[in-house]
Symmetry: C2
Subunit: 685 residues, 2 copies
């Protein structure tokens, strides 16, 4: 096909925009954009199909910049192709309230698929996006109707290559034979500490081959546009393996400091900016220049993408008439709304129903709703039988050639890869046609903390099924018993932590998790059995907190979650029988959702006038918001049968009662005794 | 050398002990011990040198069971060799307060080097132990005095092999050419979800070769004792690469369910227990049997280990006379006490000294003390220039053949591998001769959460240098700005979170971190400059909290940390000038250390009678313990110059003052107004 001066001009435009924006911000990373401009140009202009006027088109090719610090590369390209990113936006790179923040954020900027920057995340997001494509194709594609055909392209650097999360995701992608995934490795030998030879001397090519990837090497990524094109073309032809193209580039190409760490994370000096522009034939006195012929070239490609979308839209209409149910399902999924009436499938329990572990209650929810909610995917990081994440008739998501599943399968075997699982779920959710749920022990969600944080920051509807949620897991002991974990995730903005006390609350948790389009959820679930509570209903549960046991003239409110709510109910009897104390009980399965209720309702739950004691068998940190005093566990747990462990730490009706009596005594003289919900001022949101 | 019936008997004794203990506990993992008994026997009895009577001997060979769920293997062996683990202890496997908990815990059980079970951790711990050996040899070994010669042996399974942390550590170990590290991969094709072919089909051998490891394969790990011996021997001969021996075994060897997932995480049924014993020639009616000839064999090996230690002790005495300084240094290090007077090197600041970022203040501490504290190692996960973790004359810890460092080097280039860094530091600390400090951005300590938790649980003196600690990092934006992170780590037991406000507090943080032998620390440090405070001294700082500005008849206490303390001091002026309100300021650099002060002192800081307002530019979760009202940031941050970001969120003297006034008004009518430190009952510790 050949490349001409306009191609070169486009590449150098990307580079000079990155130079200008980082210089204007006096902050940012010019090196990666300058080094990767050639491959970005070839990829976006020759291979990728997208419509800048509708960044949400379902079958667009996806692009992920896993080395997100190089985001000026992406912002420049988005602008040049005509996405909703203006030259002014580029000028406000890294300024407060700009849509060009320091690292790419999916919810801020049109055309950004996933939020990257924390290294390795984008790599695993891309694997998730590729899984979602393969799955959606498996479900929806029919002869003559290739509804989902897109590729996922991803750039990553040495930093991502070193991160464990990327290793996990690469191993998973190889196993899954994701032929629609093409990763380009910016092999520039530079990381922040300088030459990668100080810490990273492995054979990356061989490692990816060991994972089952198809690997190519383009040795002159600075100039060899044809070589880049050929490699991407070849990668597209390999459909039974993910592809990695090792692209040797010069970081900061064109700068006086090219090829050094000096150009990685700092803007170029003023004279270097000028020098670069002169070298590239740009006017050194001008900034933020995009030559018209470059706009023309890119806008032409963009209009081809718009036409492709139109074609796809027509295809979808035909599809909808030939495959009525599937067509309707697909159209509905793209609205992100769940099917009408699905919630009627949620299991409902009576107090007389038997005691069941909430991990089993969660399984019953999945069993009950999986047919009604076809976009729901489940999976586990190799703890399927313990997490109870798999409905009986589930088909595994696997490459058909393995003989153990199908692309259309809805159950993911993530392997013992918690961090990659979480980030792959972020990618799955970002694709737009599925809702991923994935399981591990609550304690090991911490392995995935980096990705969980990005679920929240990037507003992904992801569900963490976190079983074995406390010392109640018993014998596995302190290495597996969460103490700090719920405090951690309760401190995370835009994240719901659920700890249901019984069956109805578990159904409520799923209801809110599935209907919250922009907020991820974690469900902390027990290993041990829990009785079905008297006051519990789904309607109560979805408020995040409610009065589980009311008592007139109560001396104290016990506020609790999960497995400790039924203990509190026992404590109420113990208090009456042994101390002549009247107590009431509030179940608070989700603080974040409770916080969103109106104040009047919340104060009915945790009222003024009597003290509140919280009871939760883990860190008390944060419980002061809902209680005057806290009974918890601010030390590590113990290995033993769970009832013995509970007894050791006094989580018994007696132990709770003792503290309730002390609390009542302590607050007797305080006037007025306000609910802890009463605050002097509102928090910024 | 040959193997006879006693060897077989020893192997089957390990197996039957694992069967009996898991059966008695009705819990645990018999599969791995039964499969790995042969290699454990060969390794411990033919290769490892140790003295069960002194598990702390400095030059012992180290053993790490990364697949820690198989701990009955280790407990059985410790018992059989004569460590302080009795048959009764084995009978109390997985019972409350037993020294044989559900997973191996370093501080509970003699002979357990590191706390494992969370998968992949032990792998990286072993890399750390091997680094510590190489470093100690580099520092102390002299001609004729090979003081440190031990090997580190580590078992890992498919679960560990899938974890990103193990990938990171394996890549680092390959780079570091750790010839003293020998890992044995239990290639049994079974994980909890069943056959590994459902998720893990990569070529593990090739992957480790890509990392630069020497790899061998023993195909019949169930029977080929000679093959195992030969492979370990060969691995010891390869001194410029870590070795991995892929050992194909049958999980649950001997059980009716051998080779299946059924024997992984569940005790054998009663009839299977009997069947196994009969198969192995044991009396099926007896439990917890160790034949005398097996004791004899193992005790003989143990006594050889004791003799080896005696020899080493004599060598140390000779060494101490020939190399006086080094000998004295080594002996001192083994007591875990720091050199006399080291603390006099800690930098001290006056209020008139210039404003400096606390990451730079941390660098000044390292620069000042590195000579006085030779056991202090530093390093960074590829953020050296940003974390300021490297003193000027530091030598890198590198294999000399690379030409960029020495084994005796004290600066670690961990690469972009936060999780492995943390777990390697746990291994380094566990070795006993060094104190590791390692840097990354505070936000990315979360990537290492799984290992940080184990620093705390296993009482390791590890220092996390966590820079760029808030929205104060500015332009990098929300993906890099911690919100939930300090709440997370404050909820972690046995862990100190420091957020110093200036130079003296930074020195205090290092003082406490370095002198706390059994508690890890995290130092949250700013990117931006901080002024030196009036009331700040090292003596004040080491109390964890103190009155930074006293004011008689104050209306309110402002409680704050780090970069917000000086803002609070400005707010005091603003309050006086604009609201005629008198405020006092408490700096609380470390809650955990403050909590350990006597109540009288703490109440002097945060007294009864006036309200307290906390000010910290991140999640307010947990601050209720020290304040009546909280000003923080319970949402994600923003990308921009840090002063603009602070302004956006009202972290200004005005913003603080507004909330202080609201707080005073709100609490006017409450009588008595108690300090938040007044509690109704004490927490269990």
């Amino acid at each position: 096909m050949g490349y001409d001066k306009t191609d070169e001009l486009a590449i150098n435009t990307i580079r000079t925009l990155a130079v200008d924006a980082t210089f204007a911000a006096n902050s940012g990373h010019p090196g990666a954009p300058m080094g990767m401009a050639p491959v970005a140009h070839v990829l976006f202009n020759k291979f990728m199909t997208f419509n800048p006027k509708n960044p949400g088109w379902a079958n667009r090719d996806r692009f992920v910049l896993s080395n997100g610090h190089g985001c000026m590369l992406q912002y420049a390209i988005l602008h040049m192709f005509g996405y909703g990113v203006s030259i002014d936006d580029l000028k406000h790179f890294r300024q407060v309230d700009s849509i060009c923040p320091g690292h790419p954020e999916a919810h801020d900027t049109p055309g950004i698929e996933v939020t990257t920057g924390p290294l390795g995340q984008g790599f695993a997001n891309a694997v998730g996006l590729a899984c979602a494509q393969a799955h959606s194709a498996g479900v929806f594609n029919k002869p003559g109707f290739e509804m989902f055909t897109n590729h996922t392209y991803m750039f990553f650097g040495d930093g991502c290559a070193m991160e464990g999360i990327a290793s996990e995701a690469a191993s998973a992608a190889g196993h899954l034979q994701l032929g629609n995934l093409i990763a380009i490795y910016d092999d520039n030998h530079i990381s922040i500490d300088g030459d990668t030879k100080c810490a990273f001397t492995e054979d990356v090519t061989m490692r990816f081959e060991a994972y089952g990837w198809h690997v190519q090497w383009v040795k002159d990524g600075d100039h060899d546009l044809q070589g880049i094109e050929d490699a991407i073309k070849k990668a597209k032809e390999v459909t039974d393996k993910p592809s990695m193209i090792r692209l040797t580039t010069t970081i900061g190409f064109g700068s006086k400091l090219q090829g050094t760490g000096g150009v990685h994370g700092n803007p170029l000096k003023e004279d270097d900016c000028k020098q670069v522009k002169e070298k590239f034939g740009f006017d050194p006195t001008k900034t933020f220049v995009v030559p018209q012929e470059v706009y023309d070239m890119y806008h032409k490609h963009a209009s081809e993408g718009a036409a492709a979308e139109q074609e796809w839209d027509s295809l979808l209409e035909k599809y909808s008439s030939e495959h009525k149910d599937l067509g309707a399902d697909l159209k509905r999924r793209l609205t992100r709304k769940l099917p009408e009436g699905w919630q009627e499938k949620l299991p409902v329990y009576k107090p007389s129903d038997k005691a069941i572990a909430s991990r089993k209650l969660s399984e019953s929810v999945l069993e009950a709703i999986y047919e009604a909610v076809p976009e729901l995917l489940s999976g586990s990081a190799d703890l399927t039988g313990s997490n109870n994440t798999r409905w009986k008739n589930a088909v595994d998501f696997q490459p058909p050639s393995l003989g153990i599943g199908e692309w259309s399968g809805r159950y993911f075997r993530y392997g013992v890869r918690e961090h990659a699982m979480a980030a792959m779920m972020n990618g799955l959710a970002a694709y737009g046609t599925v809702i991923p749920a994935g399981g591990t022990f609550l304690n090991f969600v911490s392995y995935a903390a980096g990705a969980v944080r990005l679920s929240a920051l990037s507003h992904q509807r992801v569900i963490y099924v976190a079983t074995h949620d406390s010392i109640g897991l018993g014998e596995d002991g302190p290495t597996h018993q969460p103490i700090e974990t719920l405090a951690h995730f309760r401190a995370l903005p835009n994240f719901m932590v659920w700890r249901p006390a019984d069956g109805n609350e578990t159904s409520a948790a799923y209801y809110v998790a599935l209907t919250s389009q922009n907020t991820p959820s974690l469900l902390a679930l027990t290993r041990q059995n829990l009785p079905q509570l008297e006051g519990s209903t789904i309607a109560n549960g979805i408020k995040g907190g409610y009065v589980a046991l009311e008592n007139k003239d109560a001396h104290i409110t016990l506020v609790s979650t999960g497995s400790e709510v039924s203990l509190c109910l026992e404590a109420v009897k113990y208090l009456k029988d042994n101390h002549d104390v009247t107590a009431r009980v509030v179940s608070l399965p989700c603080m974040e959702v409770f916080d969103a209720q109106d104040k009047e309702y919340r104060l009915k739950c945790i009222p003024d006038g009597i003290p509140a004691l919280s009871v939760e068998v883990m860190s008390t940190l944060g419980w002061e918001k809902y209680s005057h005093e806290q009974f918890g566990l601010n030390r590590f747990g113990a290995s033993g049968p769970y009832k013995d462990v509970y007894k050791k730490f006094e989580f018994t009706p007696e132990g709770i009662s003792k503290r309730a009596v002390a609390t009542i005594d302590f607050y007797k003289e305080v006037k007025p005794l306000r609910s802890p919900l009463q605050r002097a001022f509102l928090q910024l949101i």
